[in-house]
């Protein structure tokens, strides 16, 4: 019984990673997203180095000091201050650069940790089935019964308003999302004959889970990871906008938007630029996610014959 389809595709293609990269590369927008995210990451890294090791020597006017007369509040954009200054005379551009540090840190760490833990739990649940699966998935259902931000607020309120706790809170919120996707992918992968074949060969369970099942579950998880990074940026910004995230004087984008909310007509640049920074970064992650989804789409890579 040979399967015939009616729109031809070549049978031979490059494999695995290279194939994905090729597909990704062909989407101009996705590459643009990658570029944007890379730039923001580099900026954040720069800020981190400056803050931790160089003592604000490189990027100045981030923190307010009443002893320095150069802090002139509410200045519009100019040569000296391309993004203007805020209510305390701090340079908005400099603070935006510093804001990148927090945002990227939160997004990358929270999502990567959540992805690792969540995927492992999900794959185990999907492969093992039975009581293990039921219990894990009920727990996931409970966690997913909370709107994401509401749960994050609750967690941060309980743990305290620090960078680490924001990361932990978001991580906890995202673990169930990965677990659910990992489980359903693992479930369908476990039904493939090669998993049965591995069982017939007598391979150990760790081998089957890690070498046979997991590698085939990665695609949707990767897509989800980049999309959740986008959400994480917004989530962190929302938390700091509400004053429930990283506390001043550490600059974060959400905080800056909040600070400027009272000066919308008189000094819109205070809110405008950090807001734009959030938008651009989130857009970048979303473009990467979309590009990955298209590149990894089994329909596009499927071998179809006449």
């Amino acid at each position: 019984m040979s399967n015939e389809s009616t729109s031809g595709q070549q049978a031979t293609r490059p494999t695995g990673l290279r194939r994905t990269w090729r597909g990704f590369r062909s989407h101009g927008l996705a590459v643009a997203g990658l570029v944007v995210v890379s730039v923001v990451t580099v900026v954040g890294l720069l800020a981190y180095i400056d803050d931790t090791f160089l003592g604000n020597a490189l990027i100045t006017s981030v923190y307010y000091s009443p002893f320095e007369p150069r802090f002139i509040p509410l200045q519009g954009p100019s040569m000296a201050h391309p993004f203007g200054t805020d209510t305390l005379g701090r340079d908005v551009l400099a603070r935006t650069i510093y804001g990148a540090k927090v945002s990227i840190q939160v997004a990358l760490t929270a999502v990567l940790v959540a992805a690792t833990i969540g995927s492992l739990l999900g794959v185990l649940a999907g492969y093992a089935g039975g009581y293990v699966e039921t219990i894990l998935m009920r727990a996931v259902d409970v966690m997913l019964g909370f709107p994401a931000l509401v749960l994050a607020i609750g967690l941060v309120a309980a743990l305290g308003f620090t960078l680490m706790n924001v990361i932990i809170a978001l991580g906890i919120v995202y673990i169930p999302q990965f677990a659910r996707i990992a489980r359903s992918t693992a479930l369908s992968v476990s039904n493939e004959e090669y998993v049965d074949a591995a069982k017939t060969m007598g391979y150990s369970t760790p081998h089957i889970v890690f070498r046979e099942v997991l590698p085939n579950c990665l695609s949707p998880l990767l897509v989800q990871a980049s999309l959740l990074m986008a959400f994480a940026i917004i989530a962190e910004a929302s938390l700091s906008f509400l004053g429930l995230g990283v506390q001043p004087p550490t600059p974060t984008w959400g905080q800056m938007v909040s600070d400027g909310s009272g000066y919308l007509t008189s000094a819109p640049w205070i809110s405008l630029f950090p807001g734009a920074a959030i938008f651009v970064t989130v857009l970048g992650f979303n473009l990467i996610g979309d590009g990955l989804r298209d590149a990894l789409d089994p329909r596009e890579n499927a071998e179809r014959r006449f």
């Binding site: 727990a139 409970v142 019964g145 749960l151 809110s271």
Partner: protein, 315 residues
């Protein structure tokens, strides 16, 4: 046997709700700071503190406190606010309608925009309208809602004065004013929601149009409009319903932030202010109500889906 499916889903929801209440309880009770001390101020003596602790039952072991609380909930008693002189239930009841109205308005706007846009985009894949919708959706999903809200206020309220910047007016009081006041916040929340729905609709549409049964319908000589409406549309919209239900959680999250921006007296604002004031019973009650609402909405969506899709009869 649909009734069996319904029964199973209902029964499955119970442990979830139960679990939600446990999680809420645990989180709130891990919060730092002693609310009693905050309440009484720095002047409080140790006896006062001890007295009040006993009165609030804060000396009992944790699981006893939990069961007392749970028992109270089932009777409609969510406790007493620590910082405001009202019961938590009363507070929630006073705030809930505002949030529900806002959520409904946002959903309405989102669906009205997203579904037609997604359909057009999917049917006319690769054309200008498709790109337009796709880019619009990407933008909508990437804009932080608080920022969008501020921009909308700047443009429509301050500059042009078309819509007021927030302040809830109940529908029953003055319909026109109510709609005017909810416009900006609803658009703020609705934008991201619309973006999500539009993308989902589009991909669902695309999936559908590639199916064999569409080709089959064509082979029967049916006109494309008929094929589209009867064969493609209904089938394509089914998954969108599920997604809409899941993303309702997004709506609820968004209200926390957007109500802040627009000074909207709803649940979101309540949660925020209670966290600020360390009014933990209120935070507890409000989060519980929001989460329960979400779970029930998901259940409703599931049941609606099973009603509409003839293939779902066994679980």
């Amino acid at each position: 046997m649909k009734s069996r499916y319904i029964a199973i889903r209902l029964l499955q929801t119970v442990p979830v709700l139960f679990g939600v209440s446990v999680v809420v309880f645990i989180i709130i009770h891990s919060a730092p700071g002693d609310p009693i001390v905050n309440m009484l101020g720095i002047e409080a003596t140790d006896e006062n503190i001890a007295e009040l602790r006993a009165a609030y039952g804060l000396n009992d072991p944790l699981y006893v406190q939990y069961f007392n609380w749970l028992a109270g909930i089932l009777q409609g008693n969510l406790g007493q606010s620590l910082t405001r002189n009202r019961s938590v239930t009363a507070l929630i009841v006073s705030r809930l309608p505002a949030t529900l109205f806002l959520a409904a308005a946002s959903m309405f706007i989102a669906i009205a925009i997203a579904i037609p846009a997604g359909i057009v985009s999917g049917v006319r894949k690769g054309t200008a309208s498709d790109y337009g919708v796709t880019i619009g959706a990407l933008t909508g999903v990437s804009i932080p809602n608080f920022w969008l809200g501020l921009v909308l206020i700047l443009v429509f309220a301050r500059t042009f004065g078309i819509f007021p910047s927030g302040n809830y007016v109940p529908l029953t009081e003055n319909p026109v004013a109510a709609l005017r006041h909810v416009a900006l916040p609803a658009v703020t929340i609705g934008t991201a929601f619309a973006a999500l729905l539009a993308r989902q609709t589009r991909s669902s549409m695309l999936d559908n149009l590639n199916q064999e049964y569409i080709k089959m319908a064509k082979s029967k000589g049916l006109h494309s409009r008929k094929i589209f409406v009867r064969h493609a549309l209904k089938q394509a919209l089914l998954p969108v319903i599920t997604v809409a239900g899941l993303q309702f959680g997004y709506l609820l999250s968004a209200t926390v932030v957007v109500e802040q921006v627009f000074a909207w007296p709803g649940m979101g604002r309540l949660i925020w202010s209670s966290v600020q004031q360390q009014d933990y019973p209120t935070v507890q009650g409000a989060v519980l109500v929001v989460a329960t609402l979400f779970v029930l909405v998901n259940l409703l969506v599931d049941l609606t889906y099973s009603y509409l899709d003839p293939r779902v009869s066994v679980s």
